[in-house]
């Protein structure tokens, strides 16, 4: 087993290095005649927050779904923590996925389960032999992280949008992943709640030393979180740089996003 | 977690209830089909099964005793049926019991009925062959019944017509007259005789004509003799007058009858008066006597003529007329 695939509990000692955790090379993906990704390449380094900007339908969600293996690219390689997710079988893919968190745009909390069951689900699924006591402890810790411990036995339908987003974040973080993929984390929230979510992401990022790809339209969010910003345009990586660099770019197409 | 366990208990109950229903259903059917009890086999051979099938019931003295296990063609007229019988009734079925194919209700399923016979015999043992009773199928029964019905219908139709005629017939009243009865009877007898004679003669004459046509025998020669022809003519004339007399008498009788009839139909009530009047009754009686006499005479003529085959052609027509006329008074 590659050394990068440590169990999450060993993660604490990680320091900022230039070790790449996600390497995307020459990725192609099309749906019917609609070309979404065309020769897209990206490398994400450890403890780095990369924000992917792009118009709606530009293929941002497709990109991160390919990273986690929900979609199979037509061509190209995706190395996640040293393993090629495009060529893994189901069991190995699950092993990689246990180290990658994914925060869905619509939260994707299971309607039929309580908050507790929602949080337990990935734990019991990925770590089959985990004890009941450990599960309890981790669920509580995850909810404390998002300050929603009192919702433990509530159903998702009883909670507000901001709370749901925070619980979804807690569920994403419960496995203490090395990489987190955020699909528009602040979309649909009021600006105050959106800032809270931003702060939460940053706080947890520092706490667990994770690397992230964040998809967003929200420039405040981008400004707060981004270490690096990627502009996805026509299926390609159009621009790559810090927030400041891109904000002051003279390129017309880049400027559109910062107005 | 507790809820989950509770749900599983409910689910378990639900599944068990379903399986229980299935088991009960199987058991109930099996009980009817003798699958779970001990049993033995009997055989019977039939010429026709009338739709008996495997699994049909076997009744012993009307009690459910088993089912038909298998059916096998032995040859073109024999079918062997194997019966699966409950052991409980084994000691009651004797070797001389009769097996017959019957029907549950009028049009229900076919069954095999095993009927005990009074004569003493041993109890059956496994695989014994029972004597088969010739079966009467519903269809056959219905067919016979239908024929019988038709017959009865035509008989009753005829009977009805007779009764109606008898009822409306004037003769019914006349027949009540004791004196008229016997005379009428005898005259009828005479008429009968006469017609018989006539028929005999016709036959004889017929034969003769054939011979004459062929120009054979004495008749051929005689017919050429003119003298003889004259005699013959005379004889025929005499005969004619005799039969004319008879004819007249018959007409007379006829007239009386018609008048009686007429009175009756008119409902004048004169009929009763007439009939009660002994004089008139006697008159009728006399005229009937005359009829009798006339026919008697005629009969004698005929008897004579029977032996004289030359008058055939003429006589035939005459006889026909007479018979027709004489028949009238009887009506």
């Amino acid at each position: 087993m590659p050394t990068v695939l440590n169990t999450p509990s060993d993660e604490k000692t990680g320091t900022v290095t230039s070790k790449p955790v996600i390497v995307i090379e020459h990725l192609y993906k099309q749906f019917g005649r609609n070309v979404v990704l065309e020769d897209f390449s990206l490398t994400v380094y450890k403890e780095e927050n990369v924000v992917v900007l792009g118009k709606s339908g530009a293929g941002k969600s497709v990109l991160i779904k390919c990273v986690i293996g929900l979609l199979k690219p037509d061509k190209g390689n995706i190395m996640v923590l040293g393993e090629n997710v495009t060529a893994l079988n189901d069991d190995d893919l699950d092993r990689v996925r246990s180290k990658v968190g994914f925060l869905f745009q619509a939260n994707a909390l299971y309607d039929s389960m309580t908050v507790r069951e929602n949080l337990e689900f990935p734990l019991r699924r990925h770590w089959i032999n985990i004890s009941q006591k450990e599960v309890e402890k981790m669920v509580k810790e995850a909810l404390e992280n998002v300050a929603l411990l009192h919702t433990l036995d509530m159903m998702p339908s009883e909670l507000s949008g901001g709370m749901l987003k925070r619980i979804a974040l807690a569920r994403t973080l419960i496995l203490k992943p090395e990489i987190i993929l955020y699909d528009e984390p602040t979309t649909g929230l009021d600006p105050v709640t959106a800032r809270e979510i931003d702060q939460l992401i940053l706080k947890l990022q520092k706490k667990y030393h994770t690397s992230s790809i964040i998809i967003s339209h929200d420039m405040n969010c981008v400004k707060n979180i981004a270490d690096r910003v990627i502009l996805l345009l026509d299926g390609k990586c159009y621009a790559d740089g810090s927030y400041d660099e891109l904000e002051h770019s003279t390129d017309q197409k880049i400027k559109q996003f910062f107005e | 977690m507790a809820k989950q366990g509770e749900n599983n208990i409910k689910l378990g109950l639900f599944v068990l209830a379903g399986l229980l229903v299935l088991m009960v259903a199987f058991y109930m059917i099996g009980k009817n089909r003798n699958i779970f009890g001990s049993d033995f086999e009997l055989k019977a051979r039939f010429s026709s099964l009338n739709g008996l099938m495997e699994g049909n019931n076997v009744l012993f003295s009307g009690i459910q005793a088993g089912t038909v296990k298998s059916i096998e063609m032995v040859n073109d007229t024999t079918i062997e049926v194997t019966l699966q019988i409950d052991s409980k009734v084994k000691s009651f079925i004797h070797k001389n019991a009769l097996a017959a194919i019957g029907t549950e209700g009028l049009m229900g399923n076919k069954v095999v009925n095993i009927q005990p016979v009074k004569a003493a015999s041993f109890s059956v043992s496994n695989g014994d062959m029972l004597t088969a009773q010739k079966l009467i199928s519903t269809e056959e029964m219905l067919q016979t019944l239908s024929k019988t019905n038709n017959n009865i219908a035509s008989i009753s139709e005829a009977l009805k017509a007779t009764v109606l005629r008898l009822d409306s017939s004037a003769i019914f009243d006349i027949l009540n007259d004791k004196t008229i009865g016997p005379s009428l009877k005898s005259s009828l007898g005479n008429i009968n005789k006469a017609s018989k004679n006539a028929s005999d003669m016709t036959m004889g004459l017929n034969e003769l004509v054939t011979q004459i046509k062929q120009g054979k025998g004495a008749a051929g020669l005689l017919l050429t003799d003119t003298a003889f022809a004259g005699n013959l003519k005379q004889a025929i004339t005499k005969l004619k007058s005799a039969s004319d007399n008879a004819n007249k008498l018959t007409l007379q009788a006829n007239m009386i009858m018609t008048s009686v009839n007429h009175d009756m139909n008119d409902g004048h009530g004169t009929l009763h008066a007439l009939l009660k009047d002994s004089l008139i009754a006697r008159k009728i009686s006399i005229s009937l006597d005359n009829v009798m006499k006339g026919t008697d005479g005629f009969n004698q003529n005929m008897e004579a003529l029977k032996h004289n085959f030359f008058f055939k052609g003429y006589f035939k027509d005459l006889e026909k007329k007479k018979q027709a006329n004489k028949a009238l008074p009887v009506q």
Partner: protein
């Protein structure tokens, strides 16, 4: 032109459903088994449908008896009413009515549930959480419908026959014991066994169609509604087609 596209759509649908069902056999019933989810689905699909099936079964038995009675009376064979009702319920009406009620309740709920899970990315979330959604969601539901419908049908038949008993007793008097003796006298294994086996297929059809429609739900609440609706329609039609096939098949192998 529209006929051609309709035909193409129809064939494409049929092919996709076949593939989906094939996937059930090639992937769905392999380890690891989701026993816990299966049990909870059995509980929801089977136990929770029981009151509805029981009620409709009872009414069906009662009404059928009352409806059949006048025509039997006109033939003078009203004493055969239990036999006739028994055969009708066990062979045909019990399985088909139960399956249709089942399709209405369970087919639509599976279609809507999986549809909304698909639309709100819950299915993706499940996959990310190390769970094969096909096994966890589809296989469990299909197995549950396949196993639960026969049980529901058997219980529904029993309740239906009880309804028929009451129906018989409305206008004449029969003991429960004699009623059931009469019913079972005319029944054979070849009446019950094919009836039970065909409900397995009915259940499978309801489950697989519900799951297929849910899994292929298009975006939005409208898509979920369409999934639920078409799941019911299609599985109801399939129930009748399977019913027809079963009758022909049992005739063919001489079980009738």
């Amino acid at each position: 032109m529209s006929l051609i596209t309709n035909t193409e759509d129809f064939l494409e649908q049929t092919g996709k459903i076949s593939r989906f069902a094939g996937h059930f056999f090639s992937h769905g019933i392999k380890p690891r088994f989701e026993i816990k989810e299966l049990l909870s689905q059995c509980y929801l699909i089977g136990y929770k449908s029981f009151p509805l099936v029981g009620l409709t079964g009872f009414i069906m038995g009662l009404v059928l008896t009352m409806q059949l009675r006048p025509s039997l009376v006109s033939y003078g064979v009203q004493s055969e009413l239990p036999v006739m009702v028994g055969i009708a319920i066990v062979r045909e009406i019990g399985p088909v009515i139960t399956a249709l009620i089942f399709a209405g309740k369970i087919g639509s709920s599976i279609g809507a549930e999986l549809g909304s899970m698909k639309v709100t990315e819950q299915i993706d979330a499940m996959e990310v959480s190390g769970t094969n959604p096909y096994k966890y969601l589809v296989a469990t539901r299909v197995v549950a419908t396949t196993l639960m419908l026969p049980i529901l049908t058997l219980l529904g038949d029993a309740i239906s026959l009880f309804g028929a008993y009451i129906g018989v007793n409305i206008s004449s008097v029969t003991s429960l014991r004699f009623f059931f003796t009469q019913v079972f006298q005319s029944l054979t294994y070849s009446d019950i066994v094919p009836a039970v086996i065909k409900t397995l297929f009915f259940g499978f059809a309801v489950g697989i169609i519900g799951c297929y429609k849910g899994f292929n739900s298009t975006k939005g609440t409208q898509g979920v509604g369409i999934s639920a609706n078409s799941a019911v329609v299609l599985s109801s039609v399939l129930i009748f087609i399977i019913d027809l096939l079963t009758v022909q098949l049992t005739n063919l192998i001489g079980l009738n």
